[in-house]
């Protein structure tokens, strides 16, 4: 098989952010590209929070925000700490958040991925929808030479695997280790339709702009994870991301879908979606083990991009996966083209993929925050006692009942003491070091 001309220069598995951009990049460079996407249309199987930071996509489509079906520009960042009976929200807005290249946009993946896919198709890539690649074909030397999908075996000089977080092929055909329940989170989300002017009123945002909101605490009933809320054009995305090992535990009495329902009914959340119509309920994995869970990304004849390579980062106040997917997809596309031109598509010929990811932000940022996933997993009190202490402190400040008041310091001291001053300082220092 190795002596025959391959059917395509490049085959891309999956047409999400990583795959579509890889295909576009390679097709644009004049290569013959086949994309196999298991969804009936690109995006049909995909879900995100979510918002995409624009910087990586702008390298590929400089004016994407004018053309792509993005929902809203995020100009309000909100962070909330919630206890079962209380909630504290910080709402931050700044002109920096809307500067070109530093800006971000909320997206819904069904329309967004169809747009990305149409760009790849316009550039000349061939896209097959509705069928999953079942296997990567290898030659006797173990080199990836193509794919098997349904009855068909199709060959290529390079296969780019961009299959997303549930990376069956990377595990079953490339030998990557299965992520552990500590390294993966379950994401659950619901989309609620709400007229756009009501969204702007509820979030105090100018027309066309919106908010991104992350919650910690009672949203996951005190388990490691968090809640998220993103404003779309005329809908709201609301959901949870929680570490699998913490949800599956025998001492957790609440299934994740019940947690989402409880979150929706929390007094700080219910009014936001009041009167909004539920239109979709979705689920997806989120790789959150960071740098230490990234598998081998370069093989003979094959590159792994995006979530399939676990290139995703959840810092609690920042979730990034789509910009990593776009960037790794672009680099994979470029490196594959160069290797084909140089007639060396072995792992050595493709090695600059890894080097470029290391030099650029993808692996560099993941490495910088490599200690965070474990720190977060050990910092159980962040999800229980900290929100409770915040409630105590703010109650001490704001509750007036006509009793003789003590100095604020006296009112707050017992709360801090109960938290354990040293323990808290140590924890916060540790977290700051990892972040």
């Amino acid at each position: 098989m190795a002596d025959q001309e391959p059917d395509f220069d490049i085959i891309v598995v999956g047409c999400g952010c990583a795959g579509a951009v890889a295909a576009y990049t390679a097709a644009q460079a004049g290569k013959s590209v086949l994309v196999v996407e298991r969804g009936e249309y690109s995006g049909a199987k995909n879900m995100t929070g979510g918002r995409i930071y624009s910087h990586a996509l702008k390298k590929v489509f400089p004016d994407f925000e004018k053309e792509a079906p993005v929902e809203r520009k995020v100009t309000h960042e909100r962070i909330a700490m919630m206890d079962p009976t209380a909630n504290m929200t910080v709402d931050f807005t700044s002109d920096k958040l809307s500067q070109e290249g530093k800006d971000s946009y909320t997206v819904l993946r069904a329309p967004f991925d169809q747009w990305l896919s149409s760009k790849a198709e316009d550039a000349g890539a061939e896209i097959i929808n509705g069928i999953a690649v079942e296997q990567l074909i290898k030659d006797d030397a173990g080199r990836v030479v193509g794919i098997k999908a349904g009855e068909d075996e199709i060959t290529a000089s390079v296969v780019i695997v961009a299959e997303g977080a549930n990376n069956l092929l990377t595990e079953r055909c490339l030998g990557a280790k299965r992520p552990t329940p500590d390294e993966m989170a379950v994401g659950i989300k619901e989309v609620f339709q709400l007229p756009s002017d009501q969204i702007e009123q509820r979030f105090l945002c100018p027309k066309g702009e919106g908010a991104a909101m992350l919650f910690v605490g009672d949203c996951t009933h005190g388990r490691t994870g968090g809640g998220f809320l993103y404003t779309n054009k005329d809908s709201i995305s609301l959901g949870l991301v929680a570490t699998i090992s913490q949800i599956e535990k025998a001492d957790n009495p609440t299934p994740i879908y019940q947690m989402l329902d409880d979150f929706k009914h929390h007094p700080a959340v219910a009014p936001i979606i009041d009167g909004a119509k539920l239109v979709e309920h979705s689920g997806h994995l989120v790789p959150e083990g960071g740098y230490n869970m990234v598998p081998q990304l370069v093989y003979d004849g094959c590159l792994v991009a995006g979530d399939a390579g676990m290139l995703c980062m959840n810092l609690g106040y920042q979730v990034r996966g789509m910009d990593f997917a776009v960037e790794s997809g672009r680099i994979a596309g470029e490196v594959a083209c160069k290797a084909i031109d140089a007639k060396d598509t072995s792992a050595t010929g493709l090695a600059s993929y890894k080097t470029q990811l290391e030099q650029g932000f993808v692996l560099s940022d993941l490495k910088t925050f490599s200690a965070w996933p474990e720190t977060m997993l050990d910092w159980k009190r962040m999800f229980t006692e900290y929100p409770k202490a915040v409630e105590g402190i703010f109650n001490a400040m704001f509750v007036v009942d006509g009793q003789n008041q003590k100095h604020l310091k006296e009112r707050i001291k017992p709360i801090i003491k109960e938290m354990g001053t040293w323990k808290t300082l140590k924890e916060v220092r540790g977290a700051l070091k990892a972040l």
């Binding site: 199987k45 819904l108 999953a132 549930n166 599956e248 025998a250 299934p255 879908y257 019940q258 979705s282």
Partner: protein, 99 residues
């Protein structure tokens, strides 16, 4: 003890809003016979579509028809009580309109 609190939400009604092409012939996820109770309860807690259920009499049921194809059950239990986790057949399964 590993008990699960009473459920107040109707998750079936929520997933009923999704678009699916259900493959009646082919289950893309299969459990082993007589799955271990504790392992099964992990999936009750984890599945975002609430497809793993234990009824009043302690009977365990699983219905792949409402599957969101997330892979969470695979990460938790492919090495224990899941016999099979594959992508659905061509054209089958969930079809997000929003995502």
């Amino acid at each position: 003890m590993s008990d699960i609190n009473p459920i107040t939400v109707n998750v079936d009604a929520a997933i009923a809003l999704n678009k699916y092409n259900v493959d009646e012939e082919n289950a893309h996820i299969e459990l082993v016979d007589n799955p271990d109770d504790e392992e099964f309860k992990k999936l009750v807690r984890l599945c975002p579509a609430g497809l793993y259920k234990i009824d009043k009499d302690g009977n365990k049921t699983f219905d792949y028809a409402g599957c969101l194809e997330c892979g969470t059950c695979r990460i938790a239990c492919e090495s224990t009580i899941l016999k099979k986790w594959d992508n659905p057949q061509p054209g089958m399964g969930v079809e997000y309109r929003f995502g």
